[in-house]
């Protein structure tokens, strides 16, 4: 049985089966533009609280000397 599997048709059949199953993932219905209400909610943001996020960032770049690490202008000299 194992011999058959590794050198013959079953391996190919399994490959095709796995390929089909993985392609099935592409059939997932995409989120439509009008279905993004939940995604647009404030609490779905990475940083729902901007004050808290600014505080965390300030702590981070102060400790690391990495001003600009989140995309702000600056060279990372830690001098401002």
């Amino acid at each position: 049985m194992l011999n058959d599997f590794f050198n013959g048709k079953m391996l190919r059949a399994a490959t095709v089966l796995i390929l089909f199953a993985s392609l099935g993932g592409c059939a997932t219905t995409p989120v439509q533009p009008w279905e993004r209400g939940r995604l647009a909610r404030w609490d779905m943001r990475w940083d729902p609280d901007p004050l808290q996020a600014a505080m965390n960032d300030h702590t981070h770049f102060s400790k690391e000397g990495s001003n600009g690490h989140i995309g702000a202008a600056g060279g990372g000299c830690g001098c401002n």
Binding site: V16, L19, W34
Partner: protein, 171 residues
């Protein structure tokens, strides 16, 4: 045989990836619909009721930022146009009614919003973004379509609408 099967599977995958949504083409008949008026129980409006008028159909949702920007400008546009020739009809696509209720209180307008919480009509029109608007002529044919909103879009819309209103006598 395996080669054919693999090819078929790849083709199916490609169809799924590209055939997701297709916006309705300009020059085709607008899909007919009959939707309840938002916040007015028992009241319905069908697109066919507006045959003979130029219709600006605006799909919006309370969570959509540009929609908020569009409302006062659309209201101004509506006020400029003759009511016997033109109707601005909005279709709200929120799943829950509380969002649009608050939105309409904050952005009061004189035009009607219909409710399509399941997005059936949005699907028929093949929306690819929010907000989306369609200019529909007196015979129910889509004459222009816009996705997204910028204040300067209103100028293009105004021109399209005025052209269509003016075309009545030419028919």
């Amino acid at each position: 045989m395996y080669r054919t099967m693999i090819l078929a599977a790849l083709l199916a995958c490609a169809c799924n990836a590209f055939g997701a949504t297709r916006m309705i083409d300009v020059g085709t008949q607008a899909p007919s619909f009959d939707l309840p008026v938002f916040g007015k129980k028992g009241s319905h409006i069908a697109l066919s009721d507006l045959r003979g008028k130029v219709v600006l159909l605006d799909f919006w949702a309370s969570w959509c930022g540009p929609c908020r920007q569009s409302f006062p400008l659309y209201e101004k546009l509506r006020a400029e146009m003759p009511a016997r020739d033109f109707t601005l009809l909005a279709i709200n696509l929120d799943e829950m009614a509380d969002g649009p209720t608050a939105f309409l209180e904050e952005n009061p307008v004189g035009y009607t919003s219909l409710a399509d919480p399941a997005g059936d009509v949005a699907r028929q029109f093949g929306l690819i973004g929010m907000p989306s608007s369609f200019v529909i002529d007196r015979d129910g044919v889509v004459r222009a379509r816009h996705t997204g909103f910028k204040p300067q879009d209103v100028d293009a819309l105004r021109k399209e609408i005025v052209d269509l209103i003016g075309n009545r006598d030419a028919k």
